[in-house]
Subunit: 317 residues, 2 copies
Protein backbone atom coordinates (compact mmCIF):
# COMPACT_ATOMS: atom_id res chain seq x y z
CA UNK A 1 0.00 0.00 0.00
CA UNK A 2 2.71 2.41 0.98
CA UNK A 3 4.58 1.53 -2.15
CA UNK A 4 1.55 2.06 -4.35
CA UNK A 5 0.77 5.43 -2.77
CA UNK A 6 4.32 6.62 -3.18
CA UNK A 7 4.28 5.55 -6.81
CA UNK A 8 1.05 7.51 -7.37
CA UNK A 9 2.54 10.62 -5.74
CA UNK A 10 5.58 10.36 -7.97
CA UNK A 11 3.39 9.94 -10.98
CA UNK A 12 1.34 12.99 -9.97
CA UNK A 13 4.51 14.97 -9.44
CA UNK A 14 5.75 14.13 -12.89
CA UNK A 15 2.32 14.72 -14.29
CA UNK A 16 1.98 18.30 -12.91
CA UNK A 17 1.70 20.80 -15.78
CA UNK A 18 4.14 23.70 -15.74
CA UNK A 19 2.43 26.88 -14.54
CA UNK A 20 3.67 28.54 -17.75
CA UNK A 21 4.54 27.19 -21.19
CA UNK A 22 6.48 29.29 -23.72
CA UNK A 23 6.84 28.55 -27.44
CA UNK A 24 9.28 30.30 -29.74
CA UNK A 25 12.55 30.26 -31.63
CA UNK A 26 15.97 29.11 -30.51
CA UNK A 27 18.94 30.49 -32.38
CA UNK A 28 22.68 30.77 -32.39
CA UNK A 29 23.32 34.47 -32.91
CA UNK A 30 26.22 36.52 -34.19
CA UNK A 31 25.77 40.11 -33.10
CA UNK A 32 27.76 43.22 -33.84
CA UNK A 33 27.27 46.45 -31.91
CA UNK A 34 29.23 49.69 -32.38
CA UNK A 35 31.60 48.51 -29.65
CA UNK A 36 31.76 44.75 -29.80
CA UNK A 37 31.18 41.67 -31.94
CA UNK A 38 30.07 38.36 -30.46
CA UNK A 39 30.03 35.18 -32.49
CA UNK A 40 27.73 32.15 -32.06
CA UNK A 41 26.04 33.05 -28.80
CA UNK A 42 22.79 31.64 -27.43
CA UNK A 43 19.68 33.49 -28.63
CA UNK A 44 16.08 33.05 -29.74
CA UNK A 45 12.78 34.30 -28.36
CA UNK A 46 11.99 31.25 -26.23
CA UNK A 47 15.46 31.24 -24.70
CA UNK A 48 15.19 34.88 -23.59
CA UNK A 49 11.56 34.51 -22.50
CA UNK A 50 12.08 31.31 -20.48
CA UNK A 51 15.19 32.72 -18.82
CA UNK A 52 13.21 35.80 -17.74
CA UNK A 53 10.22 33.75 -16.58
CA UNK A 54 12.46 31.43 -14.56
CA UNK A 55 12.80 34.03 -11.79
CA UNK A 56 9.09 33.60 -11.05
CA UNK A 57 8.04 30.04 -12.05
CA UNK A 58 9.57 26.94 -13.66
CA UNK A 59 8.56 27.54 -17.29
CA UNK A 60 8.20 24.78 -19.86
CA UNK A 61 10.08 25.47 -23.10
CA UNK A 62 8.78 24.44 -26.52
CA UNK A 63 11.28 24.91 -29.34
CA UNK A 64 13.65 23.13 -31.68
CA UNK A 65 17.42 22.81 -31.94
CA UNK A 66 19.69 20.85 -34.27
CA UNK A 67 22.04 18.04 -33.34
CA UNK A 68 24.86 20.63 -33.35
CA UNK A 69 23.36 22.48 -30.38
CA UNK A 70 26.01 22.96 -27.67
CA UNK A 71 25.39 20.97 -24.48
CA UNK A 72 26.46 23.96 -22.38
CA UNK A 73 23.44 26.02 -23.52
CA UNK A 74 21.12 23.22 -22.52
CA UNK A 75 22.90 22.96 -19.18
CA UNK A 76 22.47 26.70 -18.63
CA UNK A 77 18.71 26.47 -19.20
CA UNK A 78 18.50 23.57 -16.76
CA UNK A 79 20.54 25.49 -14.20
CA UNK A 80 18.07 28.36 -14.54
CA UNK A 81 15.19 26.01 -13.71
CA UNK A 82 13.67 25.76 -17.18
CA UNK A 83 11.70 22.57 -17.96
CA UNK A 84 12.96 21.13 -21.25
CA UNK A 85 10.39 18.36 -21.81
CA UNK A 86 9.09 20.32 -24.81
CA UNK A 87 12.50 20.84 -26.44
CA UNK A 88 12.82 19.03 -29.77
CA UNK A 89 16.17 17.96 -31.16
CA UNK A 90 16.18 17.47 -34.92
CA UNK A 91 18.85 16.14 -37.25
CA UNK A 92 20.64 19.12 -38.78
CA UNK A 93 21.87 22.55 -37.77
CA UNK A 94 20.31 24.92 -35.26
CA UNK A 95 18.80 28.19 -36.55
CA UNK A 96 21.48 30.83 -37.14
CA UNK A 97 20.85 34.58 -37.05
CA UNK A 98 23.25 37.45 -37.49
CA UNK A 99 22.64 41.16 -37.11
CA UNK A 100 24.42 44.47 -36.76
CA UNK A 101 23.37 47.46 -34.65
CA UNK A 102 23.99 50.90 -36.05
CA UNK A 103 25.50 53.75 -34.07
CA UNK A 104 23.38 54.49 -30.96
CA UNK A 105 21.73 51.03 -31.20
CA UNK A 106 18.56 52.63 -32.52
CA UNK A 107 18.42 50.46 -35.62
CA UNK A 108 19.61 47.02 -36.49
CA UNK A 109 20.09 45.25 -39.79
CA UNK A 110 19.78 41.51 -40.26
CA UNK A 111 22.80 40.09 -42.06
CA UNK A 112 22.07 36.36 -42.07
CA UNK A 113 19.00 34.22 -41.41
CA UNK A 114 19.65 30.47 -41.79
CA UNK A 115 16.48 28.78 -40.58
CA UNK A 116 17.96 25.25 -40.70
CA UNK A 117 15.90 22.91 -38.45
CA UNK A 118 13.62 25.83 -37.48
CA UNK A 119 12.24 25.80 -41.03
CA UNK A 120 10.39 22.52 -40.36
CA UNK A 121 9.49 23.35 -36.74
CA UNK A 122 6.15 21.89 -35.72
CA UNK A 123 5.53 22.65 -32.06
CA UNK A 124 4.18 19.56 -30.30
CA UNK A 125 3.41 19.96 -26.62
CA UNK A 126 4.20 17.11 -24.24
CA UNK A 127 0.92 15.76 -22.85
CA UNK A 128 1.58 17.29 -19.44
CA UNK A 129 2.12 20.80 -20.93
CA UNK A 130 -1.42 20.87 -22.31
CA UNK A 131 -2.92 21.69 -18.93
CA UNK A 132 -0.63 24.69 -18.33
CA UNK A 133 -2.75 27.64 -17.18
CA UNK A 134 -0.45 30.30 -18.68
CA UNK A 135 0.81 30.23 -22.24
CA UNK A 136 3.11 32.57 -24.14
CA UNK A 137 3.07 32.17 -27.90
CA UNK A 138 6.38 33.75 -28.87
CA UNK A 139 7.05 35.10 -32.33
CA UNK A 140 6.67 32.19 -34.80
CA UNK A 141 4.37 31.70 -37.83
CA UNK A 142 0.70 32.32 -36.92
CA UNK A 143 -0.30 28.87 -38.13
CA UNK A 144 2.16 27.29 -35.71
CA UNK A 145 0.82 29.49 -32.91
CA UNK A 146 -2.67 28.26 -33.84
CA UNK A 147 -1.44 24.68 -33.81
CA UNK A 148 -0.22 25.20 -30.23
CA UNK A 149 -3.52 26.79 -29.19
CA UNK A 150 -5.30 23.71 -30.50
CA UNK A 151 -3.28 21.45 -28.24
CA UNK A 152 -3.85 23.25 -24.93
CA UNK A 153 -6.96 22.44 -22.89
CA UNK A 154 -8.23 25.58 -21.22
CA UNK A 155 -5.50 28.07 -20.41
CA UNK A 156 -6.36 30.96 -18.10
CA UNK A 157 -4.27 33.49 -20.00
CA UNK A 158 -2.57 33.43 -23.39
CA UNK A 159 -0.13 36.11 -24.57
CA UNK A 160 0.80 36.27 -28.23
CA UNK A 161 3.77 38.07 -29.75
CA UNK A 162 4.36 38.61 -33.46
CA UNK A 163 6.49 40.56 -35.96
CA UNK A 164 6.25 42.57 -39.19
CA UNK A 165 6.99 39.49 -41.33
CA UNK A 166 3.74 37.71 -40.29
CA UNK A 167 1.71 40.90 -40.54
CA UNK A 168 2.92 41.18 -44.12
CA UNK A 169 2.68 37.57 -45.30
CA UNK A 170 0.12 35.85 -43.02
CA UNK A 171 -2.23 38.61 -41.93
CA UNK A 172 -5.45 36.61 -42.07
CA UNK A 173 -4.11 33.71 -40.01
CA UNK A 174 -2.58 36.16 -37.55
CA UNK A 175 -5.90 37.96 -37.06
CA UNK A 176 -7.53 34.59 -36.40
CA UNK A 177 -5.05 33.53 -33.74
CA UNK A 178 -4.93 36.99 -32.10
CA UNK A 179 -8.70 36.79 -31.69
CA UNK A 180 -8.27 33.65 -29.59
CA UNK A 181 -5.68 35.13 -27.20
CA UNK A 182 -6.06 37.28 -24.08
CA UNK A 183 -3.26 39.68 -24.87
CA UNK A 184 -1.31 40.75 -27.95
CA UNK A 185 2.20 42.17 -27.60
CA UNK A 186 3.87 44.08 -30.41
CA UNK A 187 6.05 47.11 -30.94
CA UNK A 188 5.06 50.57 -32.17
CA UNK A 189 5.88 50.09 -35.83
CA UNK A 190 4.18 46.68 -35.89
CA UNK A 191 1.04 48.17 -34.34
CA UNK A 192 0.99 50.80 -37.08
CA UNK A 193 1.73 48.28 -39.84
CA UNK A 194 -0.96 45.89 -38.59
CA UNK A 195 -3.69 48.56 -38.43
CA UNK A 196 -2.71 51.32 -40.83
CA UNK A 197 -3.23 53.82 -37.98
CA UNK A 198 -0.51 56.31 -37.14
CA UNK A 199 -1.63 57.17 -33.62
CA UNK A 200 -1.00 54.37 -31.12
CA UNK A 201 -4.39 55.12 -29.52
CA UNK A 202 -6.14 54.43 -32.82
CA UNK A 203 -3.97 51.39 -33.51
CA UNK A 204 -4.74 49.91 -30.09
CA UNK A 205 -8.47 50.39 -30.61
CA UNK A 206 -8.31 48.47 -33.88
CA UNK A 207 -6.21 45.69 -32.34
CA UNK A 208 -8.61 45.33 -29.39
CA UNK A 209 -11.42 44.98 -31.92
CA UNK A 210 -9.71 41.78 -33.15
CA UNK A 211 -10.65 40.18 -29.84
CA UNK A 212 -7.89 40.22 -27.20
CA UNK A 213 -8.73 41.77 -23.81
CA UNK A 214 -5.38 43.54 -23.71
CA UNK A 215 -2.95 45.03 -26.21
CA UNK A 216 0.59 45.67 -25.05
CA UNK A 217 2.62 48.11 -27.14
CA UNK A 218 6.34 47.86 -26.50
CA UNK A 219 8.36 51.04 -27.05
CA UNK A 220 11.85 49.92 -26.02
CA UNK A 221 13.63 52.53 -23.90
CA UNK A 222 10.47 54.66 -24.00
CA UNK A 223 8.53 52.06 -22.01
CA UNK A 224 5.27 50.32 -22.81
CA UNK A 225 1.53 50.86 -22.93
CA UNK A 226 -1.19 48.42 -21.90
CA UNK A 227 -4.53 49.05 -23.55
CA UNK A 228 -7.91 47.52 -22.72
CA UNK A 229 -11.31 48.72 -23.86
CA UNK A 230 -11.75 50.61 -20.58
CA UNK A 231 -8.26 51.64 -19.56
CA UNK A 232 -4.71 52.56 -20.43
CA UNK A 233 -1.60 51.87 -18.37
CA UNK A 234 1.69 53.64 -19.06
CA UNK A 235 4.94 52.12 -17.86
CA UNK A 236 8.42 53.58 -18.10
CA UNK A 237 11.38 51.42 -18.99
CA UNK A 238 13.96 51.27 -16.23
CA UNK A 239 16.48 53.96 -17.25
CA UNK A 240 19.90 52.59 -18.07
CA UNK A 241 23.06 54.62 -18.39
CA UNK A 242 24.56 52.07 -20.69
CA UNK A 243 23.70 48.70 -22.17
CA UNK A 244 25.49 46.21 -24.37
CA UNK A 245 22.95 44.36 -26.49
CA UNK A 246 19.21 45.01 -26.93
CA UNK A 247 18.65 41.67 -28.73
CA UNK A 248 15.83 39.76 -27.09
CA UNK A 249 14.72 42.65 -24.87
CA UNK A 250 11.09 42.35 -26.00
CA UNK A 251 11.09 38.60 -25.37
CA UNK A 252 12.72 39.07 -21.98
CA UNK A 253 10.07 41.67 -21.09
CA UNK A 254 7.21 39.42 -22.20
CA UNK A 255 8.74 36.34 -20.54
CA UNK A 256 9.25 38.14 -17.24
CA UNK A 257 5.72 39.52 -17.46
CA UNK A 258 4.20 36.07 -18.05
CA UNK A 259 6.38 34.53 -15.35
CA UNK A 260 5.25 37.08 -12.77
CA UNK A 261 1.62 36.74 -13.89
CA UNK A 262 1.76 32.94 -13.71
CA UNK A 263 3.33 33.16 -10.27
CA UNK A 264 0.57 35.47 -9.01
CA UNK A 265 -2.06 33.28 -10.74
CA UNK A 266 -4.28 36.36 -11.18
CA UNK A 267 -5.34 37.81 -14.52
CA UNK A 268 -7.00 41.06 -13.47
CA UNK A 269 -5.55 44.32 -14.76
CA UNK A 270 -3.87 45.24 -11.49
CA UNK A 271 -1.92 41.96 -11.58
CA UNK A 272 -0.99 42.53 -15.22
CA UNK A 273 0.32 46.02 -14.41
CA UNK A 274 2.43 44.54 -11.63
CA UNK A 275 3.67 41.76 -13.92
CA UNK A 276 4.65 44.34 -16.57
CA UNK A 277 6.79 46.12 -13.99
CA UNK A 278 8.62 42.84 -13.31
CA UNK A 279 8.97 42.12 -17.03
CA UNK A 280 10.35 45.58 -17.64
CA UNK A 281 13.02 45.49 -14.96
CA UNK A 282 14.04 41.95 -15.93
CA UNK A 283 14.51 43.16 -19.52
CA UNK A 284 16.56 46.10 -18.27
CA UNK A 285 18.96 43.63 -16.66
CA UNK A 286 19.03 41.43 -19.75
CA UNK A 287 20.36 44.11 -22.12
CA UNK A 288 23.27 44.92 -19.82
CA UNK A 289 25.15 41.95 -21.31
CA UNK A 290 24.97 39.79 -24.45
CA UNK A 291 22.82 36.65 -24.61
CA UNK A 292 21.75 35.36 -21.16
CA UNK A 293 24.99 36.46 -19.52
CA UNK A 294 23.38 38.96 -17.16
CA UNK A 295 20.22 36.96 -16.48
CA UNK A 296 22.35 33.94 -15.63
CA UNK A 297 23.95 35.88 -12.78
CA UNK A 298 20.76 37.63 -11.66
CA UNK A 299 18.66 36.85 -8.61
CA UNK A 300 15.16 37.73 -7.48
CA UNK A 301 16.45 40.15 -4.83
CA UNK A 302 18.01 42.34 -7.52
CA UNK A 303 14.78 42.26 -9.51
CA UNK A 304 12.74 43.31 -6.47
CA UNK A 305 15.18 46.12 -5.69
CA UNK A 306 15.02 47.49 -9.23
CA UNK A 307 11.21 47.20 -9.24
CA UNK A 308 11.10 49.28 -6.05
CA UNK A 309 13.48 51.82 -7.59
CA UNK A 310 11.35 52.16 -10.71
CA UNK A 311 8.22 52.63 -8.60
CA UNK A 312 9.97 55.36 -6.62
CA UNK A 313 11.08 57.08 -9.83
CA UNK A 314 7.49 57.23 -11.04
CA UNK A 315 5.90 58.41 -7.79
CA UNK A 316 3.84 61.55 -8.34
CA UNK A 317 2.58 62.13 -4.82
CA UNK B 1 -8.42 108.22 7.33
CA UNK B 2 -10.53 105.82 5.39
CA UNK B 3 -9.40 107.47 2.17
CA UNK B 4 -5.76 107.33 3.11
CA UNK B 5 -5.98 103.69 4.13
CA UNK B 6 -7.71 102.76 0.93
CA UNK B 7 -5.06 104.59 -1.07
CA UNK B 8 -2.31 102.69 0.75
CA UNK B 9 -4.05 99.39 0.10
CA UNK B 10 -4.33 100.26 -3.58
CA UNK B 11 -0.69 101.22 -3.66
CA UNK B 12 0.31 97.98 -1.98
CA UNK B 13 -1.83 96.07 -4.43
CA UNK B 14 -0.11 97.69 -7.35
CA UNK B 15 3.25 97.29 -5.74
CA UNK B 16 2.92 93.54 -5.15
CA UNK B 17 5.38 91.57 -7.26
CA UNK B 18 3.93 88.88 -9.49
CA UNK B 19 4.45 85.43 -7.97
CA UNK B 20 6.05 84.42 -11.28
CA UNK B 21 7.87 86.37 -13.99
CA UNK B 22 8.53 84.88 -17.41
CA UNK B 23 10.96 86.23 -20.02
CA UNK B 24 11.07 85.05 -23.62
CA UNK B 25 10.22 85.63 -27.24
CA UNK B 26 6.99 86.85 -28.82
CA UNK B 27 6.43 86.00 -32.45
CA UNK B 28 3.89 86.02 -35.22
CA UNK B 29 4.10 82.50 -36.64
CA UNK B 30 3.20 80.89 -39.94
CA UNK B 31 2.95 77.14 -39.47
CA UNK B 32 2.36 74.36 -41.93
CA UNK B 33 1.50 70.83 -40.81
CA UNK B 34 0.72 67.84 -43.07
CA UNK B 35 -2.95 68.73 -42.81
CA UNK B 36 -3.22 72.48 -42.41
CA UNK B 37 -1.46 75.81 -42.90
CA UNK B 38 -2.03 78.75 -40.56
CA UNK B 39 -0.73 82.22 -41.36
CA UNK B 40 0.33 84.97 -38.90
CA UNK B 41 -0.84 83.44 -35.65
CA UNK B 42 0.27 84.34 -32.15
CA UNK B 43 3.40 82.49 -30.99
CA UNK B 44 6.62 82.84 -29.03
CA UNK B 45 7.96 81.15 -25.91
CA UNK B 46 6.74 83.75 -23.42
CA UNK B 47 3.25 83.76 -24.93
CA UNK B 48 2.88 79.99 -24.58
CA UNK B 49 4.53 79.89 -21.16
CA UNK B 50 2.49 82.76 -19.67
CA UNK B 51 -0.75 81.33 -21.05
CA UNK B 52 0.02 77.97 -19.40
CA UNK B 53 1.08 79.58 -16.12
CA UNK B 54 -2.09 81.70 -16.02
CA UNK B 55 -4.15 78.71 -14.85
CA UNK B 56 -2.19 78.74 -11.59
CA UNK B 57 -0.99 82.33 -10.91
CA UNK B 58 -1.07 85.75 -12.58
CA UNK B 59 2.30 85.69 -14.36
CA UNK B 60 4.22 88.78 -15.35
CA UNK B 61 5.35 88.78 -18.99
CA UNK B 62 8.68 90.25 -20.15
CA UNK B 63 9.04 90.45 -23.91
CA UNK B 64 9.02 92.75 -26.91
CA UNK B 65 6.61 93.38 -29.77
CA UNK B 66 6.61 95.84 -32.66
CA UNK B 67 4.15 98.63 -33.29
CA UNK B 68 2.40 96.30 -35.77
CA UNK B 69 1.40 93.89 -33.01
CA UNK B 70 -2.35 93.18 -33.21
CA UNK B 71 -4.39 94.57 -30.30
CA UNK B 72 -6.44 91.35 -30.18
CA UNK B 73 -3.40 89.30 -29.08
CA UNK B 74 -2.74 91.70 -26.25
CA UNK B 75 -6.41 91.57 -25.30
CA UNK B 76 -6.25 87.76 -25.23
CA UNK B 77 -3.29 87.80 -22.84
CA UNK B 78 -5.12 90.24 -20.59
CA UNK B 79 -8.25 88.08 -20.69
CA UNK B 80 -6.13 85.12 -19.60
CA UNK B 81 -4.93 87.09 -16.57
CA UNK B 82 -1.38 87.80 -17.71
CA UNK B 83 0.32 90.90 -16.27
CA UNK B 84 1.75 92.97 -19.14
CA UNK B 85 3.71 95.58 -17.17
CA UNK B 86 6.92 94.05 -18.56
CA UNK B 87 5.83 94.06 -22.20
CA UNK B 88 7.92 96.39 -24.35
CA UNK B 89 6.56 97.94 -27.54
CA UNK B 90 9.26 99.03 -29.97
CA UNK B 91 9.06 100.92 -33.25
CA UNK B 92 9.13 98.36 -36.07
CA UNK B 93 7.80 94.92 -36.84
CA UNK B 94 7.21 92.05 -34.44
CA UNK B 95 9.41 88.94 -34.74
CA UNK B 96 8.18 86.62 -37.51
CA UNK B 97 8.80 82.87 -37.59
CA UNK B 98 7.68 80.30 -40.12
CA UNK B 99 8.08 76.52 -40.04
CA UNK B 100 6.83 73.36 -41.65
CA UNK B 101 6.23 70.00 -39.97
CA UNK B 102 7.07 66.87 -41.89
CA UNK B 103 4.78 63.86 -42.15
CA UNK B 104 4.01 62.48 -38.63
CA UNK B 105 5.07 65.80 -37.06
CA UNK B 106 8.32 64.21 -35.89
CA UNK B 107 10.51 66.84 -37.48
CA UNK B 108 10.10 70.47 -38.39
CA UNK B 109 12.07 72.77 -40.63
CA UNK B 110 12.36 76.50 -40.10
CA UNK B 111 11.52 78.41 -43.27
CA UNK B 112 11.76 82.03 -42.13
CA UNK B 113 13.24 83.81 -39.10
CA UNK B 114 12.80 87.60 -39.22
CA UNK B 115 13.96 88.84 -35.84
CA UNK B 116 12.78 92.44 -36.40
CA UNK B 117 12.40 94.22 -33.01
CA UNK B 118 13.44 91.03 -31.20
CA UNK B 119 16.97 91.53 -32.55
CA UNK B 120 17.51 94.51 -30.23
CA UNK B 121 15.55 93.04 -27.29
CA UNK B 122 17.00 94.07 -23.94
CA UNK B 123 14.81 92.68 -21.17
CA UNK B 124 14.24 95.32 -18.50
CA UNK B 125 12.10 94.27 -15.57
CA UNK B 126 9.62 96.74 -14.09
CA UNK B 127 10.76 97.59 -10.55
CA UNK B 128 7.91 95.58 -9.03
CA UNK B 129 8.88 92.43 -10.98
CA UNK B 130 12.30 92.33 -9.35
CA UNK B 131 10.92 90.85 -6.15
CA UNK B 132 9.13 87.98 -7.91
CA UNK B 133 9.94 84.73 -6.07
CA UNK B 134 9.66 82.54 -9.19
CA UNK B 135 11.39 83.28 -12.46
CA UNK B 136 11.36 81.44 -15.78
CA UNK B 137 14.11 82.46 -18.19
CA UNK B 138 12.66 81.31 -21.52
CA UNK B 139 14.81 80.59 -24.51
CA UNK B 140 16.68 83.81 -25.41
CA UNK B 141 20.40 84.61 -25.67
CA UNK B 142 22.27 83.58 -22.48
CA UNK B 143 23.63 87.11 -22.01
CA UNK B 144 20.08 88.46 -21.92
CA UNK B 145 19.11 85.72 -19.44
CA UNK B 146 22.07 86.81 -17.33
CA UNK B 147 20.96 90.44 -17.62
CA UNK B 148 17.55 89.42 -16.20
CA UNK B 149 19.15 87.46 -13.37
CA UNK B 150 21.14 90.56 -12.44
CA UNK B 151 17.95 92.57 -12.04
CA UNK B 152 16.04 90.23 -9.71
CA UNK B 153 16.63 90.47 -5.97
CA UNK B 154 16.47 87.00 -4.44
CA UNK B 155 14.19 84.63 -6.30
CA UNK B 156 13.31 81.35 -4.61
CA UNK B 157 13.45 79.33 -7.81
CA UNK B 158 14.75 80.07 -11.29
CA UNK B 159 14.12 77.81 -14.29
CA UNK B 160 16.18 78.32 -17.44
CA UNK B 161 15.37 77.00 -20.91
CA UNK B 162 17.72 77.12 -23.90
CA UNK B 163 18.22 75.75 -27.42
CA UNK B 164 20.86 74.27 -29.74
CA UNK B 165 21.73 77.73 -31.20
CA UNK B 166 23.03 79.06 -27.85
CA UNK B 167 24.80 75.79 -27.05
CA UNK B 168 26.64 76.20 -30.37
CA UNK B 169 27.42 79.93 -30.38
CA UNK B 170 27.37 81.06 -26.72
CA UNK B 171 28.35 78.00 -24.74
CA UNK B 172 30.53 79.73 -22.16
CA UNK B 173 27.93 82.37 -21.29
CA UNK B 174 25.24 79.67 -21.16
CA UNK B 175 27.26 77.56 -18.71
CA UNK B 176 27.68 80.68 -16.54
CA UNK B 177 23.97 81.47 -16.40
CA UNK B 178 22.93 77.80 -15.96
CA UNK B 179 25.19 77.66 -12.91
CA UNK B 180 23.16 80.44 -11.31
CA UNK B 181 19.75 78.78 -11.85
CA UNK B 182 17.88 76.14 -9.84
CA UNK B 183 16.73 74.10 -12.81
CA UNK B 184 17.72 73.69 -16.45
CA UNK B 185 15.15 72.49 -19.01
CA UNK B 186 16.19 71.19 -22.41
CA UNK B 187 15.31 68.45 -24.85
CA UNK B 188 17.12 65.17 -25.51
CA UNK B 189 19.20 66.29 -28.46
CA UNK B 190 20.15 69.55 -26.71
CA UNK B 191 21.26 67.59 -23.63
CA UNK B 192 23.49 65.45 -25.86
CA UNK B 193 24.82 68.44 -27.81
CA UNK B 194 25.57 70.39 -24.62
CA UNK B 195 27.50 67.55 -22.97
CA UNK B 196 28.77 65.28 -25.74
CA UNK B 197 27.25 62.32 -23.86
CA UNK B 198 24.94 59.94 -25.68
CA UNK B 199 23.20 58.44 -22.67
CA UNK B 200 20.75 60.83 -21.00
CA UNK B 201 21.94 59.58 -17.60
CA UNK B 202 25.50 60.67 -18.41
CA UNK B 203 24.30 63.94 -19.96
CA UNK B 204 22.24 64.78 -16.87
CA UNK B 205 25.18 64.12 -14.60
CA UNK B 206 27.34 66.56 -16.58
CA UNK B 207 24.59 69.18 -16.62
CA UNK B 208 24.05 68.88 -12.85
CA UNK B 209 27.79 69.43 -12.43
CA UNK B 210 27.28 72.91 -13.97
CA UNK B 211 25.41 73.88 -10.82
CA UNK B 212 21.61 73.61 -11.08
CA UNK B 213 19.84 71.49 -8.46
CA UNK B 214 17.60 69.97 -11.12
CA UNK B 215 17.87 69.07 -14.80
CA UNK B 216 14.64 68.52 -16.71
CA UNK B 217 14.95 66.61 -19.98
CA UNK B 218 11.92 67.01 -22.22
CA UNK B 219 11.16 64.12 -24.57
CA UNK B 220 7.96 65.30 -26.25
CA UNK B 221 5.38 62.54 -26.55
CA UNK B 222 7.76 60.23 -24.67
CA UNK B 223 7.46 62.31 -21.50
CA UNK B 224 10.12 63.92 -19.39
CA UNK B 225 12.82 63.14 -16.84
CA UNK B 226 13.75 65.18 -13.77
CA UNK B 227 17.27 64.59 -12.53
CA UNK B 228 18.85 65.70 -9.29
CA UNK B 229 22.11 64.46 -7.74
CA UNK B 230 20.13 62.04 -5.54
CA UNK B 231 17.08 61.11 -7.58
CA UNK B 232 15.36 60.62 -10.89
CA UNK B 233 11.69 61.18 -11.66
CA UNK B 234 10.07 59.78 -14.81
CA UNK B 235 6.88 61.33 -16.13
CA UNK B 236 4.77 60.17 -19.05
CA UNK B 237 3.25 62.66 -21.45
CA UNK B 238 -0.53 62.55 -21.48
CA UNK B 239 -1.33 60.23 -24.42
CA UNK B 240 -3.15 61.99 -27.24
CA UNK B 241 -4.92 60.26 -30.09
CA UNK B 242 -4.44 63.26 -32.29
CA UNK B 243 -3.02 66.75 -32.10
CA UNK B 244 -2.79 69.68 -34.46
CA UNK B 245 0.35 71.67 -33.72
CA UNK B 246 3.26 70.84 -31.40
CA UNK B 247 4.72 74.38 -31.65
CA UNK B 248 5.31 75.79 -28.19
CA UNK B 249 4.66 72.50 -26.37
CA UNK B 250 7.93 72.71 -24.45
CA UNK B 251 7.22 76.31 -23.41
CA UNK B 252 3.68 75.42 -22.40
CA UNK B 253 5.01 72.52 -20.33
CA UNK B 254 7.61 74.70 -18.60
CA UNK B 255 5.14 77.57 -18.12
CA UNK B 256 2.51 75.30 -16.57
CA UNK B 257 5.18 73.73 -14.39
CA UNK B 258 6.40 77.10 -13.11
CA UNK B 259 2.83 78.34 -12.64
CA UNK B 260 1.92 75.32 -10.51
CA UNK B 261 5.19 75.58 -8.57
CA UNK B 262 4.70 79.30 -7.93
CA UNK B 263 1.13 78.63 -6.81
CA UNK B 264 2.27 75.95 -4.35
CA UNK B 265 5.15 78.19 -3.24
CA UNK B 266 7.21 75.09 -2.41
CA UNK B 267 10.47 74.12 -4.09
CA UNK B 268 11.06 70.62 -2.70
CA UNK B 269 11.23 67.75 -5.17
CA UNK B 270 7.77 66.43 -4.36
CA UNK B 271 6.28 69.81 -5.29
CA UNK B 272 8.34 69.91 -8.49
CA UNK B 273 7.10 66.44 -9.48
CA UNK B 274 3.52 67.60 -8.93
CA UNK B 275 4.16 70.80 -10.90
CA UNK B 276 5.59 68.75 -13.79
CA UNK B 277 2.38 66.74 -13.91
CA UNK B 278 0.41 70.00 -14.27
CA UNK B 279 2.81 71.34 -16.88
CA UNK B 280 2.57 68.12 -18.85
CA UNK B 281 -1.22 67.97 -19.01
CA UNK B 282 -1.44 71.68 -19.82
CA UNK B 283 0.93 71.12 -22.74
CA UNK B 284 -1.17 68.15 -23.88
CA UNK B 285 -4.14 70.50 -24.16
CA UNK B 286 -2.10 73.18 -25.91
CA UNK B 287 -1.09 71.01 -28.88
CA UNK B 288 -4.70 70.06 -29.61
CA UNK B 289 -5.09 73.36 -31.49
CA UNK B 290 -2.84 76.00 -33.08
CA UNK B 291 -1.46 78.96 -31.11
CA UNK B 292 -3.34 79.59 -27.83
CA UNK B 293 -6.67 78.48 -29.26
CA UNK B 294 -7.12 75.50 -26.94
CA UNK B 295 -5.60 77.14 -23.85
CA UNK B 296 -7.86 80.15 -24.34
CA UNK B 297 -10.91 77.89 -23.93
CA UNK B 298 -9.42 75.75 -21.16
CA UNK B 299 -10.26 75.87 -17.46
CA UNK B 300 -8.64 74.55 -14.31
CA UNK B 301 -11.28 71.83 -13.88
CA UNK B 302 -10.23 70.22 -17.17
CA UNK B 303 -6.57 70.39 -16.13
CA UNK B 304 -7.34 68.72 -12.78
CA UNK B 305 -9.39 66.01 -14.51
CA UNK B 306 -6.60 65.21 -16.95
CA UNK B 307 -4.02 65.23 -14.15
CA UNK B 308 -6.12 62.66 -12.28
CA UNK B 309 -6.44 60.58 -15.46
CA UNK B 310 -2.70 60.60 -16.04
CA UNK B 311 -2.07 59.58 -12.44
CA UNK B 312 -4.52 56.68 -12.82
CA UNK B 313 -2.80 55.59 -16.05
CA UNK B 314 0.52 55.37 -14.26
CA UNK B 315 -0.66 53.59 -11.13
CA UNK B 316 1.36 50.44 -10.49
CA UNK B 317 -0.32 49.23 -7.31
Amino acid sequence: MIHALSATTDLMKHAAAPQLVIVGSIGIDTIETPREKRVEILGGSVSYACAAASFFVKPGMVGVVGTDFPAEHRALWEKMGIDLAGLQIEEGKTFRWSGIYEENMDNRRTLVTDLNVFERFMPELPEVYRDAPYLFLGNIAPELQLHVLEQVHSPKFVLIDTMDLWINIAREKLVEVVGRCDMLALNESEARLFTGAHSLMDAAEKLLAMGPRFVLIKKGASGSMLFSKESLFLLHAFPLGDFKDPTGAGDTFAGGLMGALAESDQTDEKSIRRAMLYGSVTAAFGVEEFSLERLEALDRTEIEARADQLKAMCRMD
